[in-house]
């Protein structure tokens, strides 16, 4: 691996790490969504770097994967935003609150329409 590639790999790892950290600490859905996209960016950068090829032409397969990955990321984000809007309409909040493990039980009891 040449020195430039090392820089790219480290950058990719940093971006992924920042995203993961953000996902774990943020409470707002929109932020969580952004951090997931950031993690995706890190992975795409890694894919492109690894496919770069030290000598000779770059490998086209990772590039195709990244293209497809971007399409999927965009559509997933769009759907998540639509869902978020619906959630805000219904609840007036932009957080999914509460402790996940015990929620299922309490939730079902509160939400008795």
């Amino acid at each position: 691996m040449n020195p430039t590639a090392v820089i790219y790999v480290l950058t990719a790892a940093a971006i992924f790490g920042i995203g993961l950290y953000g996902l774990l600490v943020s409470r707002q859905i929109l932020r969580q969504l952004l951090t997931i996209n950031l993690m995706g960016g890190g992975i795409f950068l890694l894919l492109i770097t690894l496919g770069g090829g030290a000598e000779g032409p770059p490998d086209p397969v990772p590039q195709a994967m990244v293209l497809t990955g971007i399409v999927i990321a965009v559509s997933a984000t769009a759907f998540a935003l639509a869902l978020l809007l619906r959630w805000q309409e219904l609840s007036g909040s932009s957080e999914v609150d509460g402790d996940a493990v015990t929620d299922a039980v309490t939730d079902a009891l509160d939400d008795d329409e």
Partner: protein
């Protein structure tokens, strides 16, 4: 354990190949038709997308039965670069489950989501896309293609939950979506590393490149892929999103989610650990770890199912528990009892799918009829909805593993395998899991038969009637779950023919 398949066995006749492609494309085309406005295109799309599936599968099944597993190279592109479809007994079994459970649940959904009107307009394209995506997933042999399939399954399953429209459903969808996206990213990162280390994306060629690959990278890649799949498959302790999502979805959607969608991830775990990474290479430790998670799921899910106050939540936690069985078989992969363990695991996949779908459809009927699925509101159900209760009870028999159901056979085979391979801790977990299942199923049945305090019970006038066909759908699935215990011999033989690690040597 013999080495897994490394060279293409054969390509089947054109007719079988076309049947394989049609299994994916018909529901896809049906989805396109269902998007169009009006009732006729929607109905046409649904019927043309779902009805031919069993017929096509008969052709595929016969071909696999006679000639063994086969490849299909899409567009004529060969393995390292091209994307291949691969069909073997396990894939055939999964396709049948999609066709049968997806078909019957669709018949049930027809009444609540009339095609071409209101929410039906949104429901059916998603439903058909989901069926198509699952079929593609079970056939694809390309790790990146599988990533796309996993995303398609997630992005069609979650809107179906959200269609329930309640606050709980939207909230559950949101949480499911965020965790599923995280899971996909972990999977994708693992695939990127694995591709870099082995130079191939083909599930069945990865093992060739493992020898020369740096072990650290391979281990990290496998760990990331598995973590992603465990999260998508709601395996304990990563199941937190499942109960709410499955319980708040519309009835037929719950059925398909619990019976099929979570199994897609388990299916890929099987493919990864039993096909891509031969048991000789895979650390014994990893398989044991997966089994420990399965044992945790079985016990934790069983206990939580016992604590729920709502029927659909009991059934959803039961799914968490029952998925555990599927991972328990993994440590036996290198033992002499492996063929029996494999038969048991695969049969559990099948019978749980049928029984769980039946339970969710019956629960949907009960919820619809009574306006509540709280266990305390279920009293005198035997008078109010006898057939739904009957379906629930019969499916329960299979979940508990009582004879003569399919669930009994699965659990019997699993017990025999643990006995023969001397895995005593697995034996203990199996027995405990079955006892817990019996406890939560009987708890439901006891609640439905209670008669105390007539003033507390809702008046009979509040009971809405259910279309007979919806009751029939739940009954039919429950009967199939029971029948799986009778007509098992040819099925088990078929499953055994596809035991990973055996069919490469002719």
């Amino acid at each position: 354990m013999a080495t897994p398949l490394q060279t293409p066995l054969q390509t089947h006749s054109t007719m079988t190949s076309e049947a394989l492609v049609a299994v994916i494309f018909l529901p896809l085309l049906g989805a396109c038709a269902a998007v169009m406005p009006g009732r006729f295109p929607a109905r046409l799309g649904i019927v043309a997308g779902l009805l031919p599936l069993p017929g096509l599968l008969v052709a595929v099944t016969l071909a696999v039965w006679h000639d063994g597993p086969a490849w299909l190279e899409l567009g004529g592109w060969a393995a390292p670069l091209g994307i291949r479809l691969f069909v073997d007994p396990l894939a055939v079994l999964m396709l049948w489950m999609v066709a049968i459970i997806g078909g019957i649940a669709a018949a049930h959904a027809w009444f609540d989501f009339p095609p071409g009107t209101g929410t039906g307009q949104k429901f059916w394209p998603l439903w058909l896309l989901l069926i198509s995506a699952m079929n593609a997933l079970f056939l694809s042999a390309d790790l990146f293609n599988l990533y796309v399939c996993l995303e398609l399954v997630t992005l069609t399953a979650i809107p179906l939950i959200a269609l329930a429209g309640s606050k709980t459903a939207i909230r559950a969808s949101m949480r499911y979506l965020l965790l599923a996206l995280l899971a996909s990213l972990l999977y994708l990162l693992g695939v990127a590393l694995l591709y870099n280390a082995t130079g191939t994306l083909d599930l069945y060629l990865v093992s060739d490149g493992l020898g020369a690959a740096p072990p650290m990278v391979v281990t990290t890649a496998l760990a990331l892929i598995s973590l992603g799949l465990l999260l998508k498959g709601a395996v304990f302790p990563l199941h937190i999103w499942l109960p709410q999502a499955h319980a708040s979805a519309p009835g037929p959607v719950s059925a398909v989610l619990s019976a099929l969608v979570v199994k897609t991830a388990i299916y890929l775990l099987y493919r990864l650990w039993l096909w891509s990474v031969p048991a000789t290479v895979a650390a014994e430790g990893a398989l044991t770890l997966l089994a420990v998670l399965g044992a945790g799921a079985l016990l934790y899910g069983g206990v939580l199912a016992l604590l729920q106050e709502r029927l659909k939540l009991v059934i959803a936690y039961s799914t968490v528990a029952q998925l555990g069985y599927l991972l328990l078989i993994l440590p036996m992969a290198s033992s002499s009892a492996w063929p029996i363990a494999w038969q048991g695991g695969t049969y559990q996949l099948l019978s749980h799918g049928l029984a769980k779908a039946a339970m969710f459809l019956a629960a949907a009927n009960i919820l619809h009829g009574l306006g509540s699925d709280r266990l305390s509101d279920l009293q005198r159900l035997d008078q109010r909805q006898p057939l739904s209760l009957f379906a629930l009870a019969m499916a329960g028999v299979s979940i508990m593993g009582l004879p003569p159901s399919g669930g009994f056979l699965a659990k019997w085979l699993l017990l025999e395998a643990t006995w023969r391979s001397g895995q005593w801790w697995l034996l203990a977990v199996l027995v405990a899991g079955s006892l817990l299942a019996a406890a939560y199923v009987f708890r439901i049945l006891a609640a439905t038969l209670r008669r105390d305090d007539p003033t507390e019970a809702r008046p009979a006038a509040e009971t809405r009637s259910i279309p007979a066909a919806q009751t029939a759908c739940a009954l039919l699935l429950a009967l199939l779950a029971l029948a799986a215990g009778f007509a098992a011999a040819p099925l088990l033989e078929f499953i055994e023919a596809g035991t990973p690690g055996t069919w490469s040597s002719p």
